[in-house]
Amino acid sequence: MGYAKGLKCRECGRPYPANPIHVCEFCFGPLEVDYDYLAMSRQVSRQRIESGPPSIWRYRDLLPIEGEAAVGRHCGYTPLVRARNLGKALGLTHLYVKNDTVSHPTLSFKDRVVAVAVTKALEFGFPVVACASTGNLANSVAAHAAEGGLTSFVFIPSDLEQGKVLGTSIYAPNVVAVDGTYDEVNRLCSEIADKYGWAFVNINIRPYYAEGSKTFGYEIAEQLGWRAPEHIIVPAAGGSLITKIWKGLQELWKLGLLMAVPTRMHVAQAAGCGPIVTAVKTDTEVIRPVKQPRTIAKSLAIGNPADGYYAYKVVKDSGGAGEHASDEEIVDAIQLLAGTEGIFAETAGGVTVAVTRKLVQQGVIGRDDLTVISVTGNGLKTQEAVQGALQAPAHIKPTLKSFDEVLAQRPAMAAKA
């Protein structure tokens, strides 16, 4: 049994039963899960969580499911890496990387939300799960649907990276490539959800789905020894992740598992599609949509973010900041992270690292501040982004002389030897 009382409108507070609905009928505000925190606090403790499985399900009491996890049993509890080398490069002494490049099963943080959403869809009795996606979500929905024995439909913009399309198709879902932007795909899916009554994880199941992102924040705090960091840098597409990490930290504090939450939440977006960052920098709470997103960070290319306003609010309420990263800065930062920590991140990871560098340079993040960079997806999915930027292999004959020659020609190679 879970502790979710039902749903509640984020705008007007009106309560709703725990059904597959996502919009308040009165003010059209988004619905979110409402918990009985008093009852939860009697049950939840650090010890209870620590004795749970090494996955997101160690936080099951704080998630909106009634029974046991139906899919994604090994999802989450990814490494929090003490990033000394990257810290040195950025000028930070207490830097960590929350590394969801190794999230199971599809190598991005979307596994957290989808494991919760598909479990919930099965609890509701839906025979079909579906999503609109720029890639990572599609991979994850297809994999979890396969595991749960559900039929799945995945709608993607037709210009997606090949790696992400293949990484979805392998699980044998019904993939539909739409000639349009992510926003257009999403608009179509709202209509399909109404007409066919399927479980769209990011539409009618969205209140439950979004709760999975809280586990990213829970894990950071637990892995730091039940402590909230001073800074978390989070990439934003729709803006949900940053709001849920914040909610997760606040919940741990509310339950007495954290002494304080001094965390400043910083939002990172690409220069070619950064409406939330623009709102933060210009201090305006109405998000101005980006009509034609242009960035190599396709997983962040949502021009009209559904949770943009709430993401803006979290940044402002926590005293955080926001920055954009250009395509060149993203590629450079991907290489920096790989070259210093051995972590190959997708383009969104490049965005967060590049933005962290800027925030350090601006003095927003202090040298000795406890800082966590969120890396949310694996670089193997977006290899095209860095392909042209990498040095070609040295080509030699199978002789020692040939190797000596190349070593002499490439001083950088010799320096590493």
Binding site: V23, F28, L137, N186, N204, R206, G238, E285, K291, A306
Partner: protein
Amino acid sequence: MATLRVTLTFPVDLVRQPVVYTVAKTYRLVPNIRRARVTESQGETTLDLTGTEEDLKQGIEHLTRLGVKVKPLGGAGA
């Protein structure tokens, strides 16, 4: 008759014009505003629009032509 739930985002030059009224009148749509946020530089209105399928289609196209961003409710993640 059909009903569409949308959020309209207005660029700065349209904030002071009666865009919703004009479109509703021209295309015989019934607007029911549920929520709005307006600043000095831009505005956002969440509402439902009721009308025939064809009138709704034309009304939305008209809004888009004016530079209003039309977004249906719901949809997150990527």
